[in-house]
Amino acid sequence: MILAQDGVNVAQNVGFGIIAAVMIVAALCVVTTRNVVHAALWLVIVLAGVAAQYVLAAAEFVAISQVLVYVGAVMVLFLFGIMLTRAQIGREQGLNNRGWALGIPVALLLLGVLCFAVIDAFEDTTLPAENEISSAGGIAENPTAIADNMLSPYLVPFLALSFVLLAAAIGAIVLARKD
Protein backbone atom coordinates (compact mmCIF):
# COMPACT_ATOMS: atom_id res chain seq x y z
CA MET A 1 0.00 0.00 0.00
CA ILE A 2 1.68 3.17 -1.11
CA LEU A 3 -0.60 5.73 0.48
CA ALA A 4 0.27 4.87 4.08
CA GLN A 5 3.17 3.34 5.91
CA ASP A 6 4.24 2.43 9.43
CA GLY A 7 5.44 5.04 11.83
CA VAL A 8 3.76 8.00 10.22
CA ASN A 9 1.49 10.61 11.70
CA VAL A 10 -1.97 9.04 11.30
CA ALA A 11 -3.89 12.25 11.92
CA GLN A 12 -1.92 14.05 9.23
CA ASN A 13 -2.57 11.28 6.71
CA VAL A 14 -6.28 11.12 7.50
CA GLY A 15 -6.58 14.88 7.24
CA PHE A 16 -4.73 14.84 3.95
CA GLY A 17 -7.03 12.11 2.59
CA ILE A 18 -10.25 13.87 3.55
CA ILE A 19 -9.13 17.24 2.16
CA ALA A 20 -7.79 15.59 -1.01
CA ALA A 21 -11.09 13.76 -1.62
CA VAL A 22 -13.08 16.98 -1.17
CA MET A 23 -10.71 18.81 -3.51
CA ILE A 24 -10.94 16.19 -6.26
CA VAL A 25 -14.74 16.10 -6.13
CA ALA A 26 -14.89 19.90 -6.20
CA ALA A 27 -12.42 20.07 -9.09
CA LEU A 28 -14.52 17.57 -11.07
CA CYS A 29 -17.57 19.73 -10.38
CA VAL A 30 -15.69 22.82 -11.66
CA VAL A 31 -15.12 21.21 -15.05
CA THR A 32 -18.49 19.46 -15.37
CA THR A 33 -21.17 21.73 -13.87
CA ARG A 34 -23.61 23.47 -16.18
CA ASN A 35 -23.74 26.67 -14.16
CA VAL A 36 -20.92 29.19 -14.44
CA VAL A 37 -21.47 30.73 -10.98
CA HIS A 38 -21.54 27.28 -9.37
CA ALA A 39 -18.25 26.49 -11.09
CA ALA A 40 -16.72 29.58 -9.50
CA LEU A 41 -18.01 28.54 -6.06
CA TRP A 42 -16.67 24.98 -6.48
CA LEU A 43 -13.35 26.55 -7.44
CA VAL A 44 -13.36 28.36 -4.07
CA ILE A 45 -13.51 24.94 -2.35
CA VAL A 46 -10.59 23.64 -4.41
CA LEU A 47 -8.48 26.73 -3.67
CA ALA A 48 -9.27 26.62 0.05
CA GLY A 49 -8.39 22.90 0.04
CA VAL A 50 -5.05 23.72 -1.58
CA ALA A 51 -4.44 26.27 1.21
CA ALA A 52 -5.22 23.56 3.81
CA GLN A 53 -2.75 21.22 2.11
CA TYR A 54 -0.10 23.94 2.32
CA VAL A 55 -0.66 24.09 6.08
CA LEU A 56 -0.21 20.30 6.24
CA ALA A 57 3.01 20.69 4.24
CA ALA A 58 4.39 23.24 6.76
CA ALA A 59 4.02 26.18 4.34
CA GLU A 60 1.92 28.54 6.45
CA PHE A 61 3.01 31.71 4.71
CA VAL A 62 2.15 30.32 1.26
CA ALA A 63 -1.20 29.15 2.66
CA ILE A 64 -2.04 32.65 3.88
CA SER A 65 -0.98 34.14 0.55
CA GLN A 66 -3.15 31.58 -1.22
CA VAL A 67 -6.20 32.58 0.83
CA LEU A 68 -5.53 36.31 0.36
CA VAL A 69 -4.78 36.24 -3.35
CA TYR A 70 -6.87 33.36 -4.71
CA VAL A 71 -9.87 33.01 -2.42
CA GLY A 72 -9.99 36.77 -1.88
CA ALA A 73 -8.94 38.61 -5.01
CA VAL A 74 -8.98 36.16 -7.92
CA MET A 75 -12.43 34.78 -7.09
CA VAL A 76 -13.92 38.28 -6.92
CA LEU A 77 -12.33 38.95 -10.30
CA PHE A 78 -13.86 35.74 -11.69
CA LEU A 79 -17.31 36.61 -10.37
CA PHE A 80 -17.01 40.09 -11.91
CA GLY A 81 -15.98 38.49 -15.19
CA ILE A 82 -18.97 36.13 -15.12
CA MET A 83 -21.44 38.85 -14.30
CA LEU A 84 -20.07 41.30 -16.89
CA THR A 85 -20.11 38.74 -19.70
CA ARG A 86 -23.32 36.85 -18.93
CA ALA A 87 -26.65 38.46 -18.31
CA GLN A 88 -28.28 35.28 -17.08
CA ILE A 89 -27.32 33.63 -13.79
CA GLY A 90 -28.33 30.01 -13.95
CA ARG A 91 -28.11 26.90 -16.04
CA GLU A 92 -27.15 27.44 -19.61
CA GLN A 93 -26.49 25.35 -22.67
CA GLY A 94 -23.40 25.31 -24.85
CA LEU A 95 -20.77 25.52 -22.11
CA ASN A 96 -18.82 22.66 -23.69
CA ASN A 97 -17.21 22.28 -27.08
CA ARG A 98 -18.71 19.90 -29.60
CA GLY A 99 -15.77 17.51 -29.25
CA TRP A 100 -15.56 17.79 -25.47
CA ALA A 101 -15.61 14.01 -24.91
CA LEU A 102 -12.21 13.83 -26.60
CA GLY A 103 -10.82 15.57 -23.52
CA ILE A 104 -11.58 12.55 -21.30
CA PRO A 105 -9.12 10.10 -22.93
CA VAL A 106 -6.51 12.85 -23.21
CA ALA A 107 -6.82 13.70 -19.50
CA LEU A 108 -6.81 10.03 -18.46
CA LEU A 109 -3.73 9.34 -20.57
CA LEU A 110 -1.96 12.34 -19.06
CA LEU A 111 -2.97 11.21 -15.57
CA GLY A 112 -1.62 7.73 -16.23
CA VAL A 113 1.72 9.03 -17.47
CA LEU A 114 2.04 11.48 -14.56
CA CYS A 115 1.13 8.84 -11.96
CA PHE A 116 3.59 6.37 -13.46
CA ALA A 117 6.39 8.94 -13.44
CA VAL A 118 5.65 10.15 -9.90
CA ILE A 119 5.34 6.69 -8.39
CA ASP A 120 8.39 5.47 -10.26
CA ALA A 121 10.54 8.33 -9.01
CA PHE A 122 9.27 8.99 -5.47
CA GLU A 123 7.70 5.72 -4.34
CA ASP A 124 9.66 5.44 -1.08
CA THR A 125 10.38 9.10 -0.37
CA THR A 126 8.99 10.23 2.97
CA LEU A 127 8.41 13.83 3.94
CA PRO A 128 9.97 14.95 7.23
CA ALA A 129 7.53 15.17 10.13
CA GLU A 130 6.81 18.37 12.03
CA ASN A 131 9.29 17.71 14.86
CA GLU A 132 12.08 16.85 12.42
CA ILE A 133 11.46 20.02 10.44
CA SER A 134 11.87 22.30 13.44
CA SER A 135 15.24 20.76 14.31
CA ALA A 136 16.48 20.77 10.71
CA GLY A 137 16.26 24.56 10.42
CA GLY A 138 15.72 26.45 7.20
CA ILE A 139 12.11 25.62 6.49
CA ALA A 140 11.17 25.94 10.16
CA GLU A 141 11.40 29.73 10.50
CA ASN A 142 9.22 30.04 7.45
CA PRO A 143 8.56 33.76 6.75
CA THR A 144 12.08 34.82 7.72
CA ALA A 145 13.64 32.24 5.42
CA ILE A 146 11.28 33.19 2.59
CA ALA A 147 12.16 36.86 2.98
CA ASP A 148 15.88 36.06 3.04
CA ASN A 149 15.54 34.02 -0.14
CA MET A 150 13.24 36.40 -1.96
CA LEU A 151 15.31 39.50 -1.29
CA SER A 152 18.79 38.12 -1.90
CA PRO A 153 19.18 35.15 -4.31
CA TYR A 154 15.81 35.66 -6.01
CA LEU A 155 15.86 39.47 -6.05
CA VAL A 156 16.00 39.84 -9.84
CA PRO A 157 12.92 37.64 -10.48
CA PHE A 158 11.20 39.52 -7.66
CA LEU A 159 11.81 42.88 -9.37
CA ALA A 160 10.83 41.41 -12.75
CA LEU A 161 7.62 40.15 -11.16
CA SER A 162 6.88 43.65 -9.87
CA PHE A 163 7.08 44.95 -13.43
CA VAL A 164 4.92 42.09 -14.68
CA LEU A 165 2.23 42.96 -12.13
CA LEU A 166 2.43 46.66 -12.99
CA ALA A 167 2.20 45.94 -16.72
CA ALA A 168 -0.69 43.52 -16.14
CA ALA A 169 -2.62 46.04 -14.05
CA ILE A 170 -2.16 48.83 -16.62
CA GLY A 171 -2.88 46.41 -19.48
CA ALA A 172 -6.08 45.17 -17.88
CA ILE A 173 -7.30 48.76 -17.38
CA VAL A 174 -6.45 49.70 -20.97
CA LEU A 175 -8.18 46.58 -22.35
CA ALA A 176 -11.33 46.87 -20.26
CA ARG A 177 -11.77 50.65 -20.55
CA LYS A 178 -14.80 51.87 -22.48
CA ASP A 179 -14.15 54.51 -25.11
Binding site: C115, F122, G171
Partner: protein
Protein backbone atom coordinates in the same frame (compact mmCIF):
# COMPACT_ATOMS: atom_id res chain seq x y z
CA UNK B 1 3.84 11.26 5.40
CA UNK B 2 4.79 10.08 1.92
CA UNK B 3 5.77 12.48 -0.83
CA UNK B 4 3.71 10.63 -3.44
CA UNK B 5 0.50 11.70 -1.68
CA UNK B 6 1.04 15.35 -2.55
CA UNK B 7 2.48 14.61 -5.98
CA UNK B 8 -0.40 12.32 -6.97
CA UNK B 9 -2.94 14.88 -5.79
CA UNK B 10 -1.13 17.42 -7.94
CA UNK B 11 -1.24 15.06 -10.92
CA UNK B 12 -5.00 14.50 -10.51
CA UNK B 13 -5.73 18.23 -10.23
CA UNK B 14 -3.51 18.91 -13.26
CA UNK B 15 -5.34 16.32 -15.39
CA UNK B 16 -8.74 17.68 -14.36
CA UNK B 17 -7.55 21.17 -15.31
CA UNK B 18 -6.33 19.95 -18.70
CA UNK B 19 -9.70 18.31 -19.31
CA UNK B 20 -11.42 21.59 -18.43
CA UNK B 21 -9.24 23.58 -20.84
CA UNK B 22 -9.97 21.09 -23.65
CA UNK B 23 -13.67 20.62 -23.01
CA UNK B 24 -14.97 24.05 -22.07
CA UNK B 25 -16.28 26.53 -24.61
CA UNK B 26 -16.82 29.48 -22.29
CA UNK B 27 -13.65 31.60 -21.95
CA UNK B 28 -14.17 32.26 -18.23
CA UNK B 29 -14.46 28.53 -17.56
CA UNK B 30 -11.21 27.94 -19.44
CA UNK B 31 -9.50 30.51 -17.22
CA UNK B 32 -10.84 28.68 -14.14
CA UNK B 33 -9.36 25.41 -15.44
CA UNK B 34 -6.02 27.18 -15.92
CA UNK B 35 -6.19 28.16 -12.24
CA UNK B 36 -6.63 24.46 -11.35
CA UNK B 37 -3.48 23.64 -13.34
CA UNK B 38 -1.46 26.40 -11.66
CA UNK B 39 -2.57 25.23 -8.22
CA UNK B 40 -1.51 21.67 -9.00
CA UNK B 41 1.94 22.97 -9.88
CA UNK B 42 2.09 25.02 -6.66
CA UNK B 43 1.17 21.95 -4.62
CA UNK B 44 4.08 20.08 -6.17
CA UNK B 45 6.47 22.96 -5.50
CA UNK B 46 5.50 23.10 -1.82
CA UNK B 47 5.82 19.30 -1.50
CA UNK B 48 9.32 19.42 -3.01
CA UNK B 49 10.28 22.26 -0.64
CA UNK B 50 9.21 20.08 2.31
CA UNK B 51 11.03 17.08 0.85
CA UNK B 52 14.34 18.93 0.50
CA UNK B 53 13.97 21.00 3.65
CA UNK B 54 14.51 24.47 2.18
CA UNK B 55 12.17 27.25 1.20
CA UNK B 56 13.08 27.71 -2.46
CA UNK B 57 9.88 25.92 -3.43
CA UNK B 58 7.85 28.30 -1.27
CA UNK B 59 9.43 31.27 -3.05
CA UNK B 60 8.61 29.75 -6.44
CA UNK B 61 5.04 29.05 -5.30
CA UNK B 62 4.61 32.68 -4.23
CA UNK B 63 5.91 33.85 -7.61
CA UNK B 64 3.50 31.51 -9.38
CA UNK B 65 0.64 32.92 -7.29
CA UNK B 66 1.60 36.47 -8.31
CA UNK B 67 1.91 35.56 -11.99
CA UNK B 68 -1.46 33.78 -11.83
CA UNK B 69 -3.07 36.90 -10.39
CA UNK B 70 -1.64 38.99 -13.24
CA UNK B 71 -2.76 36.36 -15.76
CA UNK B 72 -6.33 36.38 -14.49
CA UNK B 73 -6.45 40.17 -14.60
CA UNK B 74 -5.28 40.40 -18.21
CA UNK B 75 -7.28 37.32 -19.25
CA UNK B 76 -10.54 38.68 -17.92
CA UNK B 77 -9.78 42.05 -19.53
CA UNK B 78 -9.41 40.27 -22.88
CA UNK B 79 -12.60 38.27 -22.31
CA UNK B 80 -14.47 41.48 -21.52
CA UNK B 81 -13.17 43.09 -24.71
CA UNK B 82 -14.21 40.07 -26.80
CA UNK B 83 -17.66 40.11 -25.20
CA UNK B 84 -18.08 43.82 -25.88
CA UNK B 85 -17.22 43.39 -29.56
CA UNK B 86 -19.09 40.16 -30.28
CA UNK B 87 -21.74 39.71 -27.56
CA UNK B 88 -20.39 36.20 -26.92
CA UNK B 89 -17.37 34.59 -25.29
CA UNK B 90 -17.62 31.21 -27.03
CA UNK B 91 -14.07 30.34 -27.94
CA UNK B 92 -14.92 28.34 -31.10
CA UNK B 93 -16.52 31.41 -32.69
CA UNK B 94 -13.23 33.31 -32.64
CA UNK B 95 -12.00 31.94 -35.96
CA UNK B 96 -11.03 35.03 -37.99
CA UNK B 97 -7.36 34.05 -37.98
CA UNK B 98 -8.02 30.52 -39.18
CA UNK B 99 -6.05 29.84 -42.35
Amino acid sequence: MLAVNFLLLGAVLFSIGVFGVLARRNAVMVLMSVELILNAVNLNLVAFALMHGNVDGHVFALYVIAVAAAEVGVGLGLVLLVYRNRRSIALDELSEMKG
